[in-house]
Subunit: 464 residues, 2 copies
């Protein structure tokens, strides 16, 4: 890779003091994947402070034929943000909220703005920014858009894609695409921002975005419901959606996922006395004055009576609502036991989630002795985080990591599903992408990449 001392000098001169670093101690946290699974390498950390500086970095690298790995909050789970020799381009200094327009339900944030900061800016304007996920205290807007982030409120508010009204980006040739206008409707040609959303930095560097806000909710209720099988959870989902306004999250947790969390994360409590095989967290948020808690209780009572659910609890306070969420949010930590395991981010049509969970469970138990099968996540979107863990003491080298992952991916795809619902492809899932993606689609992707980044300098190891 032609990263010469001359290029580094030019970049340093353009970026100025504070705008770059070659200090290994400064670079170190940017080169380490946050779970420690990947250790990257880079000779140069660029930290441009504005869009013009990003454009110049891209241009200088292009002239030198040097590749770039863009990075936001470094919270990705598939390695797309970790350089392996490329120039590392961190957007973290571009962290301003440029403007807030409550009367348009929008704000403009730079790529390095942390999600929690954007959420707070919305609250200050008596609005909300509804994207919500575990890493919101460090994930940045640019990375969240580049990976089309999901999270727990997708069923009501959509993926990040649906929340982006406009984008500003530096294209691979160094030109700035200014498509920031926060319009709800704009049919004037190909919607270019859609290409950059979810492109994992391979078609350009997102520098700012106009984001869609929603009204601030006035009422908030979280409930837990127990079911004996996922099919009943599906019945519950549609009954609730058809009878109560404001369902914003519908998160399934199997018994194993809760048991692991309860045993390993201090301060958690079993939410339902019956400890049912599957527990669903339901969140409702409304702007209205209707008696939301009563309405939720009524539909759950109906579901109890008809035997769809076997147990239920409705939050009586914001403290209890937070406690319910804390259980759900602790699940990933709960199953990082150190055991040999495979962790998936599959999706299937919502109607197929029961079939996936049943067949996936059987598959895991067949391929791993004494397997612990963890299934949890965004059932309302058909997105199940599915893991199979060996016993803690079982040797890692005997674990059928690849065959099991492939078999579970095969299962998801056979049900009309996807091997990556919300985490993206990055570096970790490229082989699997090649195995599953429609060859025509792959070919069109390559055509687009070649047309927009013919030198393959933008995040060249990710996605494609």
């Amino acid at each position: 890779m032609p990263i010469t001392p001359d290029l580094l000098d030019r970049l340093a001169a353009r970026l100025g003091p504070g705008g770059f670093s070659t200090d290994p101690d400064v670079l170190a946290p940017h080169l380490r994947e946050w779970r420690g699974r990947i250790q990257g390498v880079s000779p140069f950390l660029a930290m441009p402070g504005d869009t013009a500086a990003v454009a110049d970095v891209v241009r200088l690298c292009r002239e030198a034929g040097a590749a770039i790995t863009p990075q936001g909050g470094n919270t990705g789970l598939v390695g797309g943000q970790i350089p392996d020799g490329e120039i590392l381009l961190s957007l973290k200094r571009m962290n301003r909220i440029r403007s807030v327009d409550p009367a348009n339900d929008s704000l403009v944030a730079e790529a390095g703005a942390v999600l929690a900061v954007v959420q707070e800016a919305a609250i200050q304007a008596d609005r909300r920014f509804p994207l919500s996920l575990g890493s919101q205290g460090s994930a940045m807007i640019g990375g969240l858009i580049s990976t089309n982030a999901g999270g727990v409120h997708v069923m009501r508010f959509g993926m990040m894609r649906e929340l982006v009204l406009g984008l500003e980006a530096v294209l691979p040739d160094g030109r700035v695409l200014d498509a920031l206008s926060p319009l709800r409707k704009n049919n004037t040609g190909y919607d270019l921002k859609q290409l950059l959303i979810g492109a994992e930095g391979t078609l350009g560097v997102i520098t700012a975005a106009a984001l869609k806000l929603a009204p601030a909710p006035r009422q908030h209720v979280v409930a837990m419901a127990g079911v004996t099988e996922p099919g009943h959870a599906l019945t519950l989902l549609h009954a609730v959606r058809g009878q109560v306004e404001g369902l914003s999250a519908f998160e399934l947790m199997n018994r194993q996922s809760i048991a692991l969390a309860l045993s390993r994360v201090p301060g958690l409590r079993e939410p339902l006395a019956l400890a049912p095989p599957f527990t669903v967290l339901l969140e409702f948020e409304t702007t209205g004055s209707e008696p939301l808690e009563d309405n939720v209780e009524a539909v759950l009572a109906d579901m109890l009576e008809t035997g769809v659910i076997v147990d239920a609890a409705v939050s009586r306070s914001q403290t209890q609502a937070r406690e319910f969420w804390r259980l759900r949010e602790s699940l990933p930590e709960g199953h990082r036991t150190g055991a040999a395991q495979v962790n998936l981010d599959i999706s299937v049509p919502v109607s197929q989630t029961p079939a996936f969970i049943a067949a996936g469970d059987a598959l895991g138990r067949r391929m791993v002795a004494d397997a612990r099968v963890v299934a949890f996540g965004h059932m309302g979107d058909g997105n199940i985080h599915f893991s199979v863990l060996a016993p803690d003491a079982a040797p890692h080298d005997a674990f059928p990591y690849h065959p099991l992952q492939e078999a579970l991916h095969d299962l998801a795809v056979s049900l009309g599903g996807s091997i990556s619902a919300e985490h993206g492809i990055g570096v970790a899932r490229k082989d699997e992408l090649l195995r599953f993606k429609d060859p025509v689609a792959l070919d069109v992707m390559r055509t687009l990449k070649a047309a927009l980044d013919p030198q393959r300098l933008m995040n060249p190891r990710a996605l494609i």
Copy 2:
């Protein structure tokens, strides 16, 4: 254009009886824009019955270097569906609902399925397909996707783009892109369907789509509210959104738009006794059991008391709800008086709608003597259908059509807006697109077109 007898023979042989026509009487309705503004020409109407036949038509035309104009329900307003010598490819025989999956809130419809038929299929499954617009009795799914249609429910359910889960399309090289899976979350590479949505047939022919359904509403209330100025309508919008769940339409109508409709469309009634300067139609639809009508009345009473609105009426029956809608839906007919006029489909940030209407009104009156200024439409999305009409008796040739259109487009763009919110570019707005579109964006659009359709055979006169 190299449309040879040999090509026509090959197409006829592939399509078989019933799959094509060269009869002028059969072609006639397909060649005439529905308002009679454009008369097209084509030697051959292809009416393939399945995706494989569409692919073969595209391949045969490509081998011959012959261009194609795809057509759905022929309801477009900017001429993109009318051929000028090209092979005319009608999707109307591909009109099946291939499948309905209520438990996934989705259905798969072919490109030639009429919107009203799709809506009805959703209702039969106790769901709804929320896209709703004036031409729903004839507009077809493929055209609605190719133009990223809008309509009256965008503020709650989004444009067509947000309602498409998956797509099947024939690419310009004749290959079939199969991306029909109805997933809510799927981050496995560039979201190629986004490129085809709103591309007006220039990047391929959409043959089928997986569409997102919503729960069936249980309650439905339509209200009319009178305001003295658009700024008060904006206050009303945010007050309502912040206090009542379920606002699905927020349509502004100025006095002139209502007056023209009342005087020209039989059977309409003035909804508000005060005949205020601006009337807003608000529609609410909820799945819940809350007293929706009471809630709407309460917020409107509050708005009356604080002087935000000057009059209000809430529908007491579905008959009255339909009557309110009929007034709104009659407005376009009301201002087709035959007078010289300019009709725009602009959008601005919602916060800028009052500024646009005030300045646009002044501009129209300055440039046209005794102008009648019509402003109505989707204020909740910042999308105003804005027209300036000369007196009926004024000569057409003295009307400043182009200077006025340009001045109003300049105004919209100066407020951060767009010259085409929901109708698209087609043939009619290509010059204006070139005048306004960011040159970088235009260049990227050309790069994409060249990469995917290097021979420029797909709807070559539309959009780009």
